[in-house]
């Protein structure tokens, strides 16, 4: 089966999976009885008398048979109506979209660091197996997989935010944050990307740029620390496996320099299994973001969903779950295609 057929097949598989996801979410929603579900649509359900609530149940079709409800629900999703958040008192979809840039900003800084540092550490510690470099890296990676991200985050927050007061919680220092809101409301600030680092440079506000970076440091650090530990372990064992293969001895026997043997021959092969697990890394990052954003009060989608969950705001959590599933499935798809592409044994069958 050639590469093109493989891609098409995987894309087609996406559809039933996403459909299944949607069905699962809907089934989950059925757990909550109609009275509570109608509160998803109303701003303040307590002030309504029971008959009024019943009327609303009828209006929103919550007393219809399951399949009719499902159909209505799907239609509303396609129209872009993802429901109303009782906790945040706003429509869910705009709420999600408004907070995506903040999370994206963390990811943009964290992801390259994780990949570069993780692979480099993994490869080098395999090359220098059992030497000092390797021992230290292994300690670091064992620590990273055993240290809960929230514990690490809380400690960093206590030290750097509360005790030493180097940065505040959130995305910007309060004074700058208020200034930014004022600028936005008086139309002196156009949100080009939503990324504070980029936008501040575009507005030539170096102070905001630096401040945004300072506030990104801690969340990015926590995320990178935890995820890199995982990546280092996988890369290291994959590289060790590659280095033990016969073709490495053969390459040395050809007279290639040590560097060529390691970086041209071994590493290429070692990275193949690493690509496979990077889909899981994406999932790990999304989970890690929830916790990291909550700890540092960073206003991204992770914190948005976590706070909503604490207050049993089902509509928000459900939409966040669908969003994450979509991203995760897509990431895995890209990873699978990439894997099939770079390994000639798979590409050419």
């Amino acid at each position: 089966m050639g590469l093109r057929e493989y891609i098409i097949r995987r894309l087609l598989l996406l559809i039933p999976i996403m459909f299944g996801v949607v069905i699962l979410i809907f089934a989950v929603l059925q757990f909550v009885d109609p009275i509570q579900r109608v509160t998803l649509y109303l701003r303040n359900p307590r002030q309504f008398a029971p008959e009024v609530i019943n009327r609303y149940i009828h209006i929103y079709g919550l007393d219809q048979p399951v399949w009719v409800q499902f159909y209505n629900w799907l239609v509303s999703i396609f129209e872009g109506n993802f429901g109303f958040s009782a906790y945040y008192k706003e429509m869910v979809l705009p709420g999600l979209l408004a907070r995506v840039p903040a999370t994206l900003e963390i990811v943009i800084f964290a992801a390259p660091l994780i990949i570069l540092v993780g692979i480099w550490l993994g490869v080098e510690s395999a090359v220098r197996k059992d030497k000092a470099f390797d021992q230290v890296t292994r300690i670091f990676s064992i620590l990273g997989t055993s240290l809960p991200s929230f514990f690490f985050g809380v400690i960093l927050s206590a030290i750097f935010i509360a005790q030493l007061k180097w940065v505040s919680a959130g995305r910007l220092t309060p004074t700058l944050s208020t200034e930014l809101s004022l600028l936005k409301s008086s139309h002196h600030w156009t949100t080009y990307t939503g990324l504070l680092t980029v936008d501040s440079l575009l507005h030539l506000r170096l102070d905001i740029f630096v401040d945004a970076l300072k506030h990104l440091a801690l969340p990015v650090l926590v995320l990178v620390f935890i995820q890199t530990a995982v990546l280092v372990r996988v890369t290291r064992s994959s590289m060790l496996e590659a280095l033990s293969k016969t073709y490495i001895t053969a390459a040395k026997a050809k007279g290639l320099t040590n560097n060529e043997v390691i970086y041209k021959h071994a590493r290429r092969n070692a990275l193949i299994p690493v690509v496979t697990i990077s889909g899981l890394l994406v999932g790990g990052m999304m989970t890690g973001l929830i916790i990291t954003e909550t700890v540092f009060l960073f206003p991204g989608i992770g914190q948005w969903a976590a706070t909503a969950a604490q207050n049993f705001d089902v509509s928000v959590v459900v939409v966040y779950a669908m969003f994450s599933a979509a991203v995760f499935v897509l990431a895995n798809l890209i990873v699978d295609v990439l894997y099939a592409y770079i390994d000639p044994r798979i590409r050419l069958g």
Binding site: K245, A250, K252, A253, K254, G255, T257, R268
Partner: protein, 386 residues
């Protein structure tokens, strides 16, 4: 055993493996030599140390293995060099160029993510770069005459780069410009030149449709084709000696015969010496000029093929020959097992399996002595009379 005709001479080589379970004394004073233009067979069972010896010659023994003492001398243009005294960088210039190696499982010896052509070209770029540069320059000069305008200017620049490569191959500018994406395209000429050489090589090895094979990946080839490709890699720099580590063991019998013929033919044409490592006595009989028999890290016997099969002098050799299955005869095997090399016996290592064992054999290790012209044995049986 000083030998004027030697290409490679191993003198008193000791090699240990440092493992969790103890120190494995894998090679216990190996002495042998490979002469110019001959095929020396290195025969022994698993664990005898034959594979590790070949790795030692190229200094690519994998840790936890370590060469303890000894010398491995190569005779190059009248001078002798001890390979074990060279640092890794210098040794890398020897590998593939003066001594090269082919392996047991051909598709495992090839990197699965690079094409055959790429991997053979690596050897060219390492060891025959000067030729590639010359070819590139020759081609470039031809293109220069035909070109005009912008192309002419580009070709002139390319020519100056190549001249620089000839005169000052390690220059910094060259190293930098070979990494920059668009600029490094000048190397394409050398790649094309290499390609021509490679196609010719593959053709001479009886690989059909070499133009296509050159762009294939190892997993797309059959065992026989892959082994030919590996042979091409090993021989393209015209080495003095080729080490063949059981190259036909994993192949079909018919393919095995083809490869053996190929090796003999190449050896005849290129006058390459070959160290042929195997456990198969039949291959030895067919292919080799001389044979060295290894047992448990020691050399038991060295002789030319005729003498070995007609007058085997070491009890182990005799037992080996007897154990070859013959139709109509009962199946004979050598009693006992190979001794543990972690705690090897003090005297002769073959003692407990030997039918002629004497008291002397328990305490004293036998030395390798010449019992007739070019016939060496290490066994106390042959001390008498000396």
């Amino acid at each position: 055993m000083e030998d004027q005709q030697s290409v490679v001479q191993i003198k008193d080589l000791y090699l240990n493996f440092y493992t969790y379970d103890g120190v494995v004394r894998a090679l216990d004073g190996i002495t042998l030599n490979v002469r110019k233009g001959e095929i020396l067979g290195l025969v022994g069972e698993t664990g005898s140390g034959k594979s590790v010896t070949s790795l030692a010659v190229l200094s690519i023994v994998i840790p936890p293995g370590r060469i303890e003492k000894g010398q491995i001398e190569i005779s190059l243009k009248g001078k002798t060099y001890d390979l074990l005294s060279l640092n890794d960088a210098t040794m890398a210039r020897v590998r593939g160029r003066y001594i090269s190696m082919i392996f047991q499982e051909p598709r495992a010896a090839l990197n699965p993510v690079y094409t055959i052509g790429d991997q053979i070209a690596e050897v060219f770029f390492h060891h025959r770069k000067a030729e590639l540069v010359e070819s590139a320059i020759a081609q470039l000069k031809k293109d220069l005459e035909k070109a005009s305008g912008l192309k002419r200017a580009i070709y002139r620049r390319e020519l100056s780069i190549y001249h620089r490569m000839q005169n000052n191959p390690k220059s910094l500018i060259l190293r930098i410009s070979s990494k920059i994406p668009l600029v490094k395209r000048f190397q394409n000429r050398m790649k094309n030149a290499a390609r021509k050489y490679i196609v010719d090589m593959l053709k001479s090895l009886n690989i059909p449709d070499p133009g296509r094979v050159i762009d294939m990946y190892p997993h797309e080839l059959s065992g026989g084709m892959a082994q030919r490709a590996v042979i091409a890699m090993a021989l393209c720099a015209n080495p003095l000696m080729l080490i063949a580590d059981e190259p036909t063991t994993n192949l079909d019998v018919t393919v095995q015969a083809q490869i053996l013929l190929l090796i003999k033919d190449l050896q005849r044409r290129l006058h390459t010496s070959i160290l042929y490592v195997t456990h198969d006595l039949g291959v030895i009989a067919e292919t080799c000029d001389r044979v060295a028999v290894l047992y448990a890290g020691n050399v038991a016997e060295i002789a030319n093929v005729m003498d070995l099969f007609k007058k085997p002098s070491h009890p182990y050799t005799q037992a080996l020959l007897e154990s070859i299955p013959r139709p109509g005869q009962k199946f004979v095997s050598i009693r006992g097992t190979v001794p543990s090399l972690v705690d090897p016996p003090k005297g002769c290592r073959f003692y407990d399996r030997c039918d002629y064992a004497m008291d002397r054999c328990v305490h004293e290790e036998p030395e390798l002595i010449e019992i007739e012209k070019d016939h060496f044995v290490s066994c106390h049986l042959h001390y008498g009379g000396k």
